[in-house]
Amino acid sequence: MTGATPAAPKAPQAPSLGKPEMKRTREGFGHGLVDLGERRSDVIVLVGDLSGSTNVTFFAEKFPDRFIQVGVAEQNMMCIAAGLAATGKIPFLSTYGAFASCRSADQMRVTVAYTDLPVKIGGAHGGISVGPDGATHQAMEEIAIVRSIPNMKMIVPCDYWETRKATVAAADDPHPNYIRFGREPVPVVTGPETPFTIGKANVVREGDDLAIIACGVMVYEALVAAQELESRGVRARVVNMHTIKPIDTDAIARAARECGAIVTAEEHQVNGGLGGAVAEVVVQSHPVPMELVAVHDRFGRSGKQDELMAAFGIKAPDVLRAAERALARKRAR
């Protein structure tokens, strides 16, 4: 690590990769809202008829006066949140990511982002975590949409604790944020004490042969792949890029410079996602071979999250193969 970034945190403890603790990120959102509700009276929670699914019921039960049911009307909800923000509130709205990012994209762009209001968008059931519901409800485009809109911040926490911390951190940011989390329990790879700062990537595993830059549930997959790489004599750095926008350009440039090859891993379309965001920095700072692990321009389908991830090529073995390709290209330079 260079001295320029003293805050770059180490992993607090090596997560157990074999049999990790499993916890829902949406519970992190729900508990984060309760944390906030206790701390500040200006936090308001809105929901579009999905209280249980998004776990905002935790907040609703404790703070019923600050909980607003909007019904099935996502566009309305986005703009109501904007109006609340105009009166000084910090509104958190929640619905499925597929709807938050697409159904109300215009409202997010014009009313929320152009006005730069502190509206906090909780995109639940992000990625393919809503498995059996199929393509319509799986959200694999949020990063591309949100990061193309000025003033928006895009956060993709990797586990329960990080989602909880991201939720709390979002309230302190006077700009609009989008937080993407999932439905199914996913491995816990951080702890309550792990630092979290919006826009500041966490290096969760050190190494300088190759860097795997991941977000969301793919941080765990990246760690699994890194462990296997180690047995093959490759020291892989794993970077948890929980904030896609503003992206941590220093962490990326450093990874490129120090590792010489990069793999990105995300549960999202390859077009406009984390991989693209990282590549934009790499090509302008220190070009190195890159491989992108992502969903390749296809809709989802019904199935269990795990089998879908395997089918779409975004499990640890896919990260591993991408790493080998990147390393081969690095060696061939």
Partner: protein, 300 residues
């Protein structure tokens, strides 16, 4: 003191000033909308110079009423009202839609202080206003929220999501105003996509509906009073207006929805309103300070 105390005659004359401003700024910019701003000028004047408690000298005044134009394209009337009311110097109107000015084609909060929330994509403003109304009620702020909508805009589905929400939460501090000029870009509203019976639709959504001649200032004053008195439900004022009102060759012609007058046409329009383009432009240029622009002589 935020609230002004103007006579009926002064309000009418101020509305005429606003119309002159609209024409003069469009003549200068040679881009922008003519029809809707002119149809909105009378109720806009009643809002800004009588009905609303606004404080251009202190934009974050916690007791202020909040206003929001869901029809962002009527910026010529919004800016004319703001300039006349003292939000910024009137001379700024001459930089409408110019790169160097602070008056964007559609309202932008960060370019034009006093705009509460940016707008321009139709159908969103009533929802925004619902949020303002609910947030104000949560804080127990005695404030009213005014949302100006278009009649063509009633075709947007989100309007009705917001209508449902406001009635459900009994937002009686919310007052919608619809500029019912019966015209939209592509033609007559009834031909493009009929919205009638509009009053019945709003009643059906459990709103207090008031219909009024949107160019009758005295009637407008009463309409706003009536809306203020309605409790337990939000109010909407259907202001029956004429697109392009006040300019003979623009009135009731949908072709003037989205275009400005040429300089010659503007001069003709202003002569119909008792001045000339040069004279009115010079008036705007004189006001380089942020103030409530001096109004017409009460007895002139």
């Amino acid at each position: 003191m935020p609230r002004l105390d103007m006579t009926l005659q002064e309000l009418k004359e101020r509305a005429l000033f606003v119309r002159r401003d609209i024409i003069a700024l469009l003549a200068r910019s040679q881009t922008g909308h003519s029809g809707g701003p002119l149809s909105s000028a009378d109720f806009g004047t009643v809002l800004f110079f009588h009905e609303m408690n606004v404080n251009p000298g202190r934009l974050d005044d916690p007791s202020r009423d909040m206003w929001h134009f869901s029809i962002g394209h009527v910026t010529p009337v919004i800016y004319s009202l703001m300039g006349e009311r003292g939000y910024f110097p009137l001379v700024d109107l001459l930089q409408f839609r110019q790169f160097k000015g602070h008056l964007q084609g559609h309202p932008s909060k960060h370019d034009t202080p006093g705009i509460e929330v940016s707008s321009g994509s139709l159908g969103q403003g009533l929802s925004v206003s619902c949020g303002m109304a609910l947030g104000s009620r949560m804080d127990r702020v005695d404030r009213r929220i005014y949302c100006v909508m278009g009649d063509g805009e009633q075709q947007e589905g989100q309007i009705w999501e917001a209508a449902m929400f406001a009635a459900h939460y009994k937002l009686d501090n919310l007052c919608g105003i619809i500029d019912y000029n019966r015209k939209q870009i592509d033609g007559d509203v009834q031909d493009v996509m009929g919205i009638a019976p509009l009053a019945d639709k709003w009643r059906g959504f459990n709103w207090h509906v008031i219909e009024v001649d949107g160019h009758d200032v005295a009637a407008l004053l009463q309409a706003f009073e009536q809306a203020r008195a309605a409790k337990g439900k939000p109010s909407v004022i259907l202001a029956h207006t004429v697109m392009g009102k006040g300019v003979s060759f623009m009135e009731d012609d949908y072709k003037w929805h989205g275009i400005p007058p040429s300089r010659d046409q503007a001069d003709q329009a202003l002569r119909e309103m008792g001045t000339t383009l040069d004279e009115w432009t010079e008036r705007l240029e004189r006001f380089t300070r942020q103030e409530v622009a001096p109004g017409p002589r009460p007895t002139s």
